[in-house]
């Protein structure tokens, strides 16, 4: 029996992978099957997890969480309300009364909109502000070496960009190009050396300054009602740079777990189903 179920799972797995080549009847079959099965699954699960214990059982069987409740009692009415609101949703099946369904939607939309204010202010604004309002001096900086290195690289890249692209130096011939690169490298190295000297005193935390500048820059990028020029424009550009590094990091960070999933499926096919490997 286990082998039959495993084989069904394996064949469905292969059907989905066949989509990588192109759309085909096997994929269509698996797709329609999973849409139907999962829609049915959720209908059943939601009924037994919410409607049955919260409405059906208290209203009709007069039992709530295993305890008996009185017909017409406060708890009974409180269980009846979501039932009535739920029935209102079904007014859509009768176009003439469809508008009654809006009452239920009003409760639903309003309730969740209300949850989208105070906790959001706390978690997304105040907490983040607190975490980022760091001291930029007189604190330990475990990332100092990396920060200095990164800033050195930024100086090098910025110099190269300014000299070659903006000033058009070095576009003429190879020798000039190498010269410009050398100059930039020296500037970058010097920058790194100076920064290392500064951070070795342990007074200023460049890492924390970077954190603050990054956040201010990102916030500036999201200003909508002003033109991005001058100081705002500069900060917004810094913000975009930080955003892009952040997005790159998220991308690279996610690859690992996605590959793990693929390894899991391959292992299911080769090990659990075919027993090709031990």
């Amino acid at each position: 029996m286990t082998f039959i179920w495993t084989t069904i799972g394996a064949l469905l797995t292969l059907s989905i992978y066949s989509f990588l080549y192109k759309d085909n009847p096997f994929y269509k079959f698996a797709e329609h099957l999973v849409v139907g099965v999962s829609a049915g699954y959720y209908l059943v699960i939601y009924y037994f997890n919410f409607i049955h214990p919260n409405v059906f059982s208290p209203v009709f069987l007069l039992r709530m969480g295993g305890e008996p409740i009185g017909f017409g009692s406060f708890l009974w009415w409180m269980a009846l309300i979501p039932g009535l609101l739920g029935i209102l949703l079904y007014a859509r099946f009768f176009p003439k009364f469809a508008w009654v369904g809006r009452w239920a939607l009003g409760v639903y939309v309003g309730g969740y909109a209300g949850l989208g204010i105070s906790p959001v202010m706390q978690a997304r604004v105040i907490e983040q502000l607190r975490a980022n309002a760091v001291s930029v001096a007189g604190v330990e900086d475990p990332f100092a070496a990396m920060t200095n290195l990164a800033l050195g690289v930024v100086i090098f890249a910025a110099m190269t960009y300014l000299l070659i692209v903006k000033r058009n130096l070095g576009t003429k011939n190879l020798l000039a190009k190498i010269g410009v690169l050398l100059v930039s490298a020296v500037m970058g190295y010097a920058g790194w050396w100076v920064l290392s000297l500064i951070s070795s005193t342990g007074v200023v935390s460049l890492t924390n300054i970077l954190l603050v500048v990054g956040l201010l820059g990102t916030l500036s990028y999201f200003f909508f009602s002003m033109k991005h020029k001058g100081l705002l424009g500069g900060l917004a550009r810094v913000g975009i740079a930080f955003l892009m590094v952040g997005f790159g990091a998220s991308f690279g960070y996610t690859v690992m777990s996605r590959v793990s999933l693929l390894i899991g499926r391959v292992s299911f096919l080769l090990h659990d189903w075919l027993h090709l490997i031990d």
């Binding site: 099957l33 209908l43 939601y46 037994f48 739920g86 954190l211 930080f242 690279g252």
Partner: protein
Amino acid sequence: MMRRQIPLALCFIFGVFMTIQYFIPHHSVADMQERILMWLQTLLAFAFLLGTVSLIKLHYHKIRNRADDRAYSFVALAGLLTMIGLGFFHPSHNLPGSPFSQMFLNVQVPIEATMFSLLAFYIASAAFRAFRARTLEATLLLVAASIVMLGRVPIGDLIHEGLPQATRWILEVPNLASKRGVMIGVGLGMMSTALKIILGIERAWMGGGD
């Protein structure tokens, strides 16, 4: 009045209650808030019937109109009705080993896990296609992604021992600053949208008619 004012009023009342309950720990308010959350979840559970009817209608229409791939509509309907039948009319649907949970574990789970694992393929093709150093921004994205990708596998340690350290720096300095900026911005957008809903300024959700 009944058709537009009452839903707007309900939206306002529930919205304001849910906003201010956050500041009132008193058990009478806290109990009510928990109860309302239960109502909202139950309301969603009721809506699943709406969804299921929509799905059945769609495939019924396909079959009735003799659409080309109507055979698959039978598959979808069969899957749906099997689960509903096993769920509601077969005893012990939630026990391990019941046909309902077997269908879930051996049909739904493997297909979904496989769909999920397609990401490994798509992530590679997306990286190949889109990670081009066209602009400064694109280059930053590309470099950060490459360092983090290498810094997390053994081969990264072999290439350069500093890679894991650089990965941590990227994740905890520039990444963190930008994530916080996005979060704060998103928070403001959320609150403003929620507020406009509660105040009835944004009322697209009601649809039209009078």
